[in-house]
Symmetry: C2
Subunit: 329 residues, 2 copies
Amino acid sequence: MSTPLDVVGVGNALVDVLSLESEDFLAAHGLVRGSMTLIDAERAHAIYAAMGPAVEVSGGSAANTLAGLASLGGAAGFVGRVHDDELGQVFAHDIRAAGVEFSGVPATTGQPTGRCLIVVTPDGERTMNTLLGAAAELDGDDVDPSFVARAQVTYLEGYLFDQEAAGEAFQKAAAAAHDAGRLVALTLSDSFCVERYLEPFRRLVASEIDVLFGNADELRLLYETDSVEDAVASAERDCDVVAVTRGAQGALISARGRRAVVPAEPVDHVVDTTGAGDLFAAGFLFGLTRGYEIERCGRLGALCSAEVISHVGARPETSLAAVVADHLP
Amino acid sequence: MSTPLDVVGVGNALVDVLSLESEDFLAAHGLVRGSMTLIDAERAHAIYAAMGPAVEVSGGSAANTLAGLASLGGAAGFVGRVHDDELGQVFAHDIRAAGVEFSGVPATTGQPTGRCLIVVTPDGERTMNTLLGAAAELDGDDVDPSFVARAQVTYLEGYLFDQEAAGEAFQKAAAAAHDAGRLVALTLSDSFCVERYLEPFRRLVASEIDVLFGNADELRLLYETDSVEDAVASAERDCDVVAVTRGAQGALISARGRRAVVPAEPVDHVVDTTGAGDLFAAGFLFGLTRGYEIERCGRLGALCSAEVISHVGARPETSLAAVVADHLP
């Protein structure tokens, strides 16, 4: 069990519950379009009761990324906490079935497995309401330094900042990775999340992060500037590699001072943007761990992102290795 | 709560767990292509462990039909048994969110909510492995005669024959319907099921069934003949209305001696045939309860069936009322 891994992710283990709703649904239930909001059990009950017939698919931001990396042919691992219940079994099954080594042992005490109630509006935008459950109980004890040390890159999910104990898990994972001479990557995850935890994010990025993922809004918030250019310049001082996703405008990549702009991959019909950023990171990290040029890393990210937004759910439905073989031989 | 209903279904309350697998998967795991097999928990564990990443969507044959009927604008009710667990909550949420009145109270004792492990092969064919769980405990006590009496048609799912106590539920529901001057419909569900329970099926069809649904194989097995024509002629003696589905060849309908052939609705790409027969019944029953001509009933069935086989999962993803308005105004 000590075979090398390309990437190990540390993130929220969640099952997504997705339904398609009209635009009116957001206003009627006080939901902020495109955001991720943490909710309690009572609010989850109320939102779920209002949602139409739903589909359950394993999710979790970093977990989606690692499932994507495995689908590309990469060696992937994941650290996250589920409860020993039906949704926990679903999560553990799906991530293992995707080819990801899952280090978690389902907890028999504490809260039920976390879920994310996702409202998808007709334009494909997703609005997420997360009941963290067991995922909120992730702490340093869940991180096995020898597991992390096996991976070229340890990938941290910014959403975890919403949990107190997770800071400890982050620090432990980052320290284990750096002690082993490995890279540490972070995705900022959500602009509201960056706003809520600005100082800890800034400290973490400046001190521990080698590879930074975020969209333009998140980067501007992190560096408290209106200028994307200034934000990227600041990020370049903190991190070796910066990848800024900009939706249909494509991605801006910077690696050790060299920059590239990568166009978004055209998609006939955007069904559900859930997982778009997660799968961009999957493609990008796959390329990075193979030593590809940043342009190719970015194009791999764009391809993977295009696959996942063309259907409901945040995990790939087709082999991403086959998609790459077809489009980027 | 005593508003009239168009159709009440009595069936297995199941959550479907679907994954896309290669043809080889069937042989490797001893699965009979296109069939429904009842499995125990141990076998379910083994099949699930072998399946790739899956999607969970509410299912159950009659439950799918009633969800379809509601999507068409019909007034639908459902009788089935779930446990008070996460999958039971998923089932109850989804059927209510589909607009179906669900009479069930989740059981707090007995087995967990039932699930159907569905392997979908590249041609869209589905092979089903059902762990009935709580659904196997449905009995006469679950049937409220006053609920059944509210519906023009009581629709029974043949799969229920795989459970001993369900016979009692069938008899009670059929008696309540007939006492109220209502119709009783049955779907034969599965040729293996017909073979296993030939005599009880024959008795039920001859004595209680007004509207019979089945495919050509099921009808031939029921009447022990190689000739579809002979089987239909026998069914016509037993039932007022007979609807025989024949896949891409379309449906043969017979009502009080008058026959019609209805072509299948063309589908660009068959993704997953799960629910094809269930949704045919939905469209057909919707038409029947509105007093439409049998040709139109059949065409409604074909349209609903076409919607459900064009995506993964056995419940409609779009408003069937809108599909009908577009295609069969």
